[in-house]
């Protein structure tokens, strides 16, 4: 993407961003909560239109495509894993993974069955195929959603906060899956996350964004040894630094004096 700008209401979310996502690699996009990382994925997928700038996927300018061509592009190249899994609640696990196959291909049911079982095997949930989404734990939902995202063997997968809110074992599982799949299937992965350690452990390249701009980018090694204090605080998970611990307010003594004065009145 080049020169990408996007605002919602009065808030400028992205201000003139340039990013290159390399094919076949895992690229992580990190930043504090609320910087609009999910919005970035939506801009890549064409669900939102930027105020300025362009996004090119597989050589095509995403936002200049007609709706039909956009859907075609998504079908050919993209898979997305949503933060909540976004499984269709009235379909079973099997039917959820089969959904893109049934909609976009003319394959007979037997072929679809094989494919679905294969994809579920990759994420380790083949035995859960008849459960309903309501019966799955959060981690399992995400794995099913992942199986669904790779159902059509896309060239690129977008991961929206895959590690957030997961117990350590689930995190480990997801980390392993993302890494293995990317290298085994030769895909391009974009991982949006603020789980620094997990994302850094599998990424080939990292972009750190904050305040609508790219603060720093490079390989995980470069970022860890970055010169910027802010990046160090973020990557190291330090409680205080350029991002202060205290929300700005008047000095403590003034606050206490004011409250006791009020009590006297």
């Amino acid at each position: 993407m080049r020169g990408l700008s996007f605002s919602r209401g009065n808030r400028v979310i992205f201000d003139n961003i340039d990013m290159d996502i390399r094919q076949g690699q895992v690229t992580a996009i990190m930043g504090p909560s609320g910087t609009g990382k999910t919005t970035l994925l939506k801009l890549i997928g064409g669900q939102l239109k930027p105020d300025a700038g362009t996004v090119h996927v597989a050589g095509e300018n995403v936002h200049q495509l007609s709706p039909t061509a956009l859907y075609d592009l998504r079908r050919r190249t993209m898979g997305m894993l949503f933060q909540s899994g976004a499984l269709l609640t009235d379909l079973s696990v099997f039917d959820n993974v089969a959904f893109p196959l049934r909609e976009h291909t003319q394959l007979p049911e037997s072929a679809i069955r094989h494919l679905v079982l294969l994809k579920l095997e990759v994420v380790g949930l083949r035995g859960a195929r008849d459960l309903m989404p309501a019966e799955l734990s959060g981690g399992m939902s995400r794995r099913v959603a992942l199986a669904r995202a790779i159902a059509l063997d896309p060239e690129m997968i977008l991961y929206d906060e895959p590690f957030t809110g997961q117990d350590p074992i689930s995190k480990g599982v997801l980390v392993k899956l993302i890494h293995d799949m990317n290298h085994a299937l030769g895909m391009t992965s974009v991982v949006v996350s603020h789980d620094v350690d997990e994302a850094a452990s599998i990424s080939d390249y990292i972009y750190v964004i904050s305040g609508g701009k790219v603060v720093e980018h490079g390989t995980p090694m470069n970022i860890k040894h970055s010169g910027s204090d802010w990046v160090k605080q973020f990557m190291g998970g330090l409680a205080d630094g350029p991002v202060p611990f205290h929300y700005s307010s008047q000095p403590m003594m003034d606050d206490l004096m004011a409250s006791s004065n009020e009590g006297k009145k």
Partner: protein, 259 residues
């Protein structure tokens, strides 16, 4: 003071933009209808959830409305010695007005709110977004089948309501009030006109169905994806849908039933 004026201006523009969004939405929905014919199972599922599940309330309401109308008609007509016209009074009221309007209102309350809640929940849990990213147009897969199911169901439900109401009136007139069966039906067969009364009533029901399901589906699609927003959207469906039915009823009556 100035702030208040400003906020009125804002809200008016908001309303306009909503109407605009709603119209564009309708257009897209209509265009997506062709997809439904390639996958009839979607339509059938929705006909069940929207039509069949509203059937019970329609049957009960129809029966009671017909019976009450017959009782009230009798009380008024007996003073003029015109009890024989009871069947006419009940049937004309039902066919021309109460059938379409009642069905429209009940549909807005029961099926309309359910549609809004369902679609709104899908929006909140990112299922609609997910579908888009899987290159399946949610308009085609989710919205259009529900819309078509509504437009088909409402006239069907109205016909059932009308029939049950007339039968209810018949029951009261014959069993409770001791009228003659032959008189009841023959009055109707002469005086009730197929085109002027029955067909006009069905046209009304078609219009009501179209508008109510449009509002219901749009409110769900357009809602703020929080639990509070969903509640507001459902309320709006019922309120706006009901008001639309009543307003359109006046308009259509004025157009259709002029002397």
């Amino acid at each position: 003071m100035f702030n208040w004026l400003q906020s009125i201006g804002h809200r008016t523009f908001d309303r306009f933009s909503r109407v605009g969004r709603g119209s564009l939405f309708l257009w897209q929905c209509l265009l997506s209808l062709t997809y439904v014919f390639t996958k009839p199972i979607l339509l059938i599922r929705q006909l069940y959830s929207v039509g069949v599940q509203t059937l019970l309330i329609i049957l009960v309401a129809g029966l009671f409305v017909g019976m009450v109308l017959a009782l009230q008609a009798y009380i008024v007509l007996v003073d003029f010695g015109a009890e024989e016209s009871i069947s006419l009074m009940v049937s004309l009221s039902i066919l021309r007005e109460l059938g379409p309007v009642f069905t429209g209102l009940l549909f807005a309350g029961r099926a309309g709110s359910a549609l809004t809640a369902e679609i709104g929940l899908m929006k909140s849990t990112e299922q609609l977004s997910g579908m888009e990213m899987m290159a399946v147009n949610p308009m085609k897969y989710i919205i259009a089948p529900r819309f078509l199911a509504g437009v088909i169901s409402v006239p069907l439900l109205t016909a059932i309501f009308m029939a049950v109401a007339v039968l209810g009136g018949y029951f009261v007139a014959i069993e409770m009030l001791g009228q003659y069966e032959g008189v009841f039906w023959s009055q109707l067969q002469i005086k009730v006109d197929f085109y002027e009364d029955l067909m006009n009533g069905m046209i009304k029901s078609l219009v009501f169905g179209f508008v109510v399901v449009w509002i219901a589906v749009f409110e769900g699609y357009d809602c703020v994806p929080t639990s509070e927003g969903l509640g507001q959207a459902t309320t709006r469906t019922v309120v706006h849908g009901s008001l639309a039915v009543l307003g359109l009823d006046f308009l259509l009556t004025a157009l259709m039933f002029n002397v």
